[in-house]
Symmetry: D2
Subunit: 257 residues, 4 copies
């Protein structure tokens, strides 16, 4: 059968990335507490395509992912990309893996544990040299408004606020390290299971630490700047304001070293 893809294109332009998107697969991911945990991932994969070829061979991405039976981490992503480069005879390959990461988290007063899910995304890009590696993470926190607290006779509006991190690193760090950084930067962490004594604790703790999205983004920035492996980051904090039907946001991007 004719290999249409390997023919010459009508227009000789090189393509930065071409591939497949939204493959859903069950995968294992490296886990600090238990060694590894199982999750479900949505995967995008692509390669660079030189101007001489009409098309890439899309089925080879799916075959590479299908035979990849390692748990997700820096090294296994690199070996997946090496396999993709080889199968597709490409100079450059990339993969994006999105998945929920689960942690057992104790409630702050009762100590009772429950499961919390954090949305993660790992992106690897491999050309000739070192793999470019990006960790993205969504961490929900609670924020109590300092302005509302200062001007009101009673109370202050609070809301769920999402901290979105994107981090480049020079060495290995656990997902848990960044969750801790984000959760310590709002008025309070959020939990799946809170008994009454825990709800009292969270409320009082949050009201003792009111913060704007501006405060949250700065608190995260300072900690990421001090992290020994972080070389670059962006932070986006977005709060679902309880007094509005729109959101407030704040962003900081920095190259650390």
């Amino acid at each position: 059968m004719e290999d249409v893809q390997s023919g010459a294109p009508q227009v000789a332009v090189s393509i930065d990335k071409v591939g497949v998107r939204h493959l859903r697969v069950p995968l294992w991911v490296r886990d600090r507490t238990n060694g590894r945990q199982q999750t479900v991932a949505t995967v995008d994969m692509g390669v660079e395509l030189p101007s001489a070829f009409k098309g890439t061979h899309m089925s080879r991405f799916v075959a590479a992912l299908d035979t990849w039976n390692e748990e997700i981490d820096y090294y296994s992503i690199k070996s997946l990309l090496q396999d993709v480069k080889k199968r597709l005879e490409a100079r450059k390959a990339c993969v994006v893996i999105r998945f929920p990461y689960f942690i057992r988290k104790p409630a702050p007063a009762s100590g009772i544990t429950s499961t919390v899910a954090y949305q993660c995304c790992l992106t690897g890009e491999l050309g000739e040299g070192k793999m470019e590696f990006l960790l993205e993470l969504d961490v929900p926190v609670m924020t109590v408004c300092p302005c509302s607290k200062a001007i009101s006779n009673e109370g202050a509006h609070s809301q769920r606020t999402m901290v979105h991190l994107a981090v480049r690193m020079s060495g290995f760090a656990w997902i848990e390290e960044f969750i801790t950084i984000a959760e310590s930067s709002g008025s309070s962490p959020v939990y799946s299971l809170l008994k009454r004594e825990d709800e009292k604790y969270v409320t009082e703790d949050a009201f003792a630490h009111p913060c704007f999205v501006e405060d949250v983004v700065r608190n995260v920035a300072v900690q990421l700047q001090e992290h020994k492996h972080v070389t670059w980051f962006t932070i986006e904090v977005e709060s679902m304001e309880s007094i509005h039907n729109h959101n407030a946001f704040a962003c900081i991007e920095r190259t650390v070293r």
Copy 2:
């Protein structure tokens, strides 16, 4: 050219609804304050198809919508459905129109006005007799947790809470009537524009009226039961709990008369 649709199907089963979905068009909608307002709608349209015909004629829905140049209300939806029934020689037709409805709303202390958007959905179904008509509406409110307030030395968690109404009526009612019902049923309405004095007002008002999703759904239910035209309703209240990454919800469905 062959009219494949008008041929006999391989399987002689009647189809409840067949048609088109997600047509986006600019439309006018009837407005209590200004007579009418312009919006953008997403429209689904369908007809019943007898077992004798292989297919419906999808282009006729688009043609009917395209020539419909009335502002959205009960009567114009009925005339659209009559046109659809005729064009498609159908015994039964339905249309679903989703659109944001805009209201100028004054802030509670300063009185300064701004635009607030409420997501609406109108569904009409026309067979032989009277048109079945359903109004759906999403109204955001603020809720302050009564438990958190009662047990904590200071504060209480609050959050944005969505009130979703679906209402069947025996006579005409304005969208604004249902917005008022929903907004009076939480701890406070939400606003687009709040000056400092307004934020103080909203915070104190909300903390003076703490309510669970259970309270909100009941407060709405009681008012819908007393509305002179409402014959049936469902209410779904969902709060984006600021102490959790999951939501709380409460639902009531009632046939009123």
Copy 3:
């Protein structure tokens, strides 16, 4: 500490359902081929609340789900609901579990296998008697347009088409049975991994079986009516028409016995 929830409400109205939504947890699900498979689920849980109580105890849902360590099936959902009823002293409880279900599927010509994900949703409602149980399933297929094929000198437009099933049953059936029914009702099944010989096979097979959304919904309906355990179903077929930016759809709902 005060138990605000157990107090009397201001408005004495019973609530149909109150609970939590969008809990994400890793779970096991019963699997025809391998006994069981792991997946990630999004879970909603609720109970009926009598008019005498101000609120439900939301944390008990999370505790019940957290201690539930069985694989998802009819019987385990029933035991979860029995536990929820007991913990919350409720007359009626319900749970909705959404998850991707993974199947190894051979390509039609080469026989090479790969993983395909099907979105599932199981709903259980338990009052005094038998549990109400609903299986929902999204199965993508390919459709080739019979009209376009009949009137054109060459080709016919095709598209990805989603078959959404909701089924009530009187006895046990595998998810795989309904996937097979849906996949045999379009122009061709879809696959994750297709070698060139498979792509030729799928194209020719699909063009030999052109069908409208009307044909697909009827083909599924006939098979569900003949299934020995199905007592009620709705089918919604929606095709992402490649010649339009809107979709075509067809629905059939039937009580079988």
Copy 4:
């Protein structure tokens, strides 16, 4: 009342962008055919915040948008940003406006016209000098697979394919120019209303011009490179493959001059 925002932050870090997101408002947009058209927009607005201030004044964004009564174009966005900078005493301001843009489009054989919606996004960033301006546009097209066509005895799979453009310019260009570029780069444009003669035309035209996502992205790139005002672009083409439940994509980014 205390102005908490104007106080000093605990952590003296400057913030790149802080503001509001997801405000929904009705707006007018400049239109090549009719001078202007009304639409509904979702708006994000932000400013840079120096390290000396704890917070920004979020209500001023809403006030600025509320008094802005011009139709959306390059110049009006610039004047909105000048107003935002002044109100918030900021060195830098940005705005993102997302909206559907409607065009009356004639069917290719019958000439019958209907409305097609294209999702647009305009971003303006204004610091000391010239405004940075970005136009983004989603244009759906149809693609027929060249490989499937070459290897099959009959037919070829086709699908709806989204062309996403992001363009920076040195001078004025109409949205319509970029729609034309994208629609001429696939196998066929898509339409809202097609009579039978049009469906025949579109099918035959598409099958006479089979193309991969690779071909589409290259066809668009060549035309954007030749556009007299384009200085930079990214193109992402994503096809909802009818033989898979995943998508194929191709991306090109270029600085033109």
